[in-house]
């Protein structure tokens, strides 16, 4: 039995409000599945489960605010070695090693990718459920909302086939609806039988209702955003929220300046090559695939950080731990004040158009309050880009327990010495704030020179 507790979604979080459960008691969850919506001072976040098992009792009602670490629900975890290996083949044989040929189905003819919540974290092999079902059958079961534990497979050794799952799905009642979704549907006048769910097992979630209320995608965003937002956040007024966010930022930044001995570096980068390349790229492609200078700067920062891993990670308990991958925290200012810095995960591995698309998506969701737990809890370094605010440089305050922050100002034309002559070039000032406990200036310098070098070859970014 494990406890699902109120997670710490960043160093600035002391408590959170459980807004909505996305699962019900008795439902099976896998590690990485979103199970609850939690509202923090800064944002509304879908929180993923860290265990694989069955949801037991729900301990906290929606609407309650509890400190970080408070148990929210019990999860009955799967025993590693079940006492009664119901559908296990004779010992010593791995289930996946001997699937009879007929149990390997061809690719699903009717995949429903929009309805599948892919877990961001693949469960380690030993935590896999013990059903005798190949992955495609498991996926079908997830899509159709069938609990494999309750099924008796008709195949060899009780193996579950796709037709077993389909038969079970046909017997099931219609997909479930989360409580918040039901309330919203009432308020917005949405017929729930017309809404297709995107939650686990096709559960209809609040977001699905909001989307349905908004009608076709061509409707004005402003038409839908207002009623939906107010309905979803009845407990807090915008002023309360802004004040709470101010307080969390205040305490985190004070802690940063109290604990972290910052050092600052800065360099001016010639952006002629980068801007020229961007202009060409944007002229050739469709308007929807346009790339902004911000995406180039983020990619250069991510690659530079990969070269200097001592800046990418966390300082906790007097030592540095390197991050597993480059997850760039992107500082996003919110309308009405405040900011969040959700992670652009594995930013160093994304091709530019992909990075641009992810950036748009992340910023939109940050402003709508629809971030996921993994995005807010684990940025390994933050990048802030204040160019849009018209300033030429920013020396940022590090977000603990991270150890560095890269800042970019506005791309601005400046007189420069070019090949012994005076020329006017677009330039940007890149800065680094770093934790002197974790690194020294020489290490930091390597990062900024790498940013400069990378931006001279935009085609390789």
């Amino acid at each position: 039995m494990a406890e699902f507790t109120m997670p710490s979604l960043g160093a600035d979080m002391d408590e959170g409000t459980l807004q909505e459960w996305l699962v019900r008691p008795g439902e099976r969850v896998r590690r990485g599945d979103p199970v609850a919506v939690v509202e923090t001072a800064k944002s509304t976040i879908e929180v993923e489960c860290f265990e694989t098992g069955t949801v037991g009792e729900l301990l906290v009602e929606p609407g309650r605010t509890v400190p970080v670490g408070t148990p929210l629900a019990l999860i009955e975890t799967e025993p590693r070695e079940p006492e009664k290996p119901r559908r296990k083949p004779p010992r010593g044989r791995k289930p996946k090693a001997t699937p009879p040929p007929e149990a390997i189905p061809p690719p699903l003819p009717e995949p429903a990718p929009a309805g599948v919540q892919e877990s961001p974290v693949a469960p380690p092999p030993e935590e896999r459920p013990q059903h005798e079902a190949v992955p495609l059958v498991r996926r079908l079961a997830r899509e159709r909302g069938v609990d494999l534990e309750t099924l008796h497979g008709s195949g060899l050794h009780g193996r579950i086939s796709r037709s077993d799952v389909r038969r079970a799905a046909a017997r099931q009642p219609r997909a479930r609806i989360t409580p918040l979704a039901r309330r919203l549907a009432g308020e917005l006048g949405v017929d729930l039988s017309t809404v297709s769910g995107t939650g686990r097992y096709g559960a209809v979630r609040a977001d699905d209702v909001r989307k349905a209320a908004a009608g076709p995608a061509t409707a004005l965003v402003s038409d839908r955003a207002e009623p939906a937002r107010t309905a979803a956040e009845p407990a807090r007024t915008a002023d309360d929220r802004a004040a709470a966010m101010r307080r969390t930022i205040a305490s985190l930044m004070a802690r940063s300046k109290r604990d972290i001995p910052h050092y600052y570096l800065s360099t001016t980068v010639d952006m002629a090559a980068a801007m020229g390349w961007l202009r060409e790229h944007n002229r050739r492609g469709p308007v929807g695939e346009r790339v902004l200078p911000a995406a180039l700067l983020l990619k250069a920062a991510a690659l530079a950080v990969r070269e200097v891993p001592a800046l990418n990670g966390f300082w906790t308990e007097d030592h540095f731990t390197e991050g597993d991958g480059v997850h760039l925290g992107v500082a996003v200012s919110l309308r009405g004040g405040g900011l969040v810095a959700p992670a652009l995960r594995d930013a160093d591995t994304l091709a530019l158009p992909q990075l641009m698309a992810r950036l748009k998506d992340l910023v939109t969701r940050a402003r709508e309050g629809r971030l996921r737990g993994s995005e807010v809890s684990d940025p390994t370094i933050t990048v802030t880009n204040l160019g849009d605010q018209g300033v030429e440089s920013v020396l940022g305050v590090i977000y603990p327990p991270q150890v560095a922050l890269i800042g970019f100002g506005r791309v601005v034309d400046r007189p420069c010495a070019v090949d012994g002559l005076l020329g006017v070039r677009p330039t940007v000032t890149a800065t680094l704030s770093a934790d002197h406990r974790a690194t020294d200036g020489a290490i930091g310098a390597r990062c900024l020179t790498a940013v400069d070098r990378l931006l001279q070859h935009p085609e390789e970014l």
Binding site: V221, R283, V287, G288, R290, P293, R335, K360, V363, D388
Partner: protein, 81 residues
């Protein structure tokens, strides 16, 4: 597209990008990027939306003309003649 139609489609596009923006208070020659606090991502989605709704391709070079309602209207009117 005449100027009135153009102003309407510009306002609709802005409303889509900045839900809840006070467009009624926006005067024809106000620089709306500042007035509505659009960052570069917002402005890009405005350009995408406007381009999609009007069928006019808008290049980076055109964006300096898209700073005010009247500037946008003039630009759209000239491209849809």
């Amino acid at each position: 597209m005449n100027r009135t139609e153009a102003v309407d489609v510009v306002k609709e596009s802005l409303a889509q990008v900045v839900p809840g923006a006070d467009l009624a208070a926006l005067r024809p020659d106000d620089a709306f990027r500042d007035a509505l606090e659009l960052d570069s991502l917002d402005f890009l989605s405005f350009v995408e939306t406007l381009s999609r709704r009007t069928g006019v391709r808008i290049d980076d070079e055109d964006t300096p003309r898209l700073t005010t309602l009247s500037g946008c209207a003039e630009f759209l009117a000239s491209r849809t003649e």
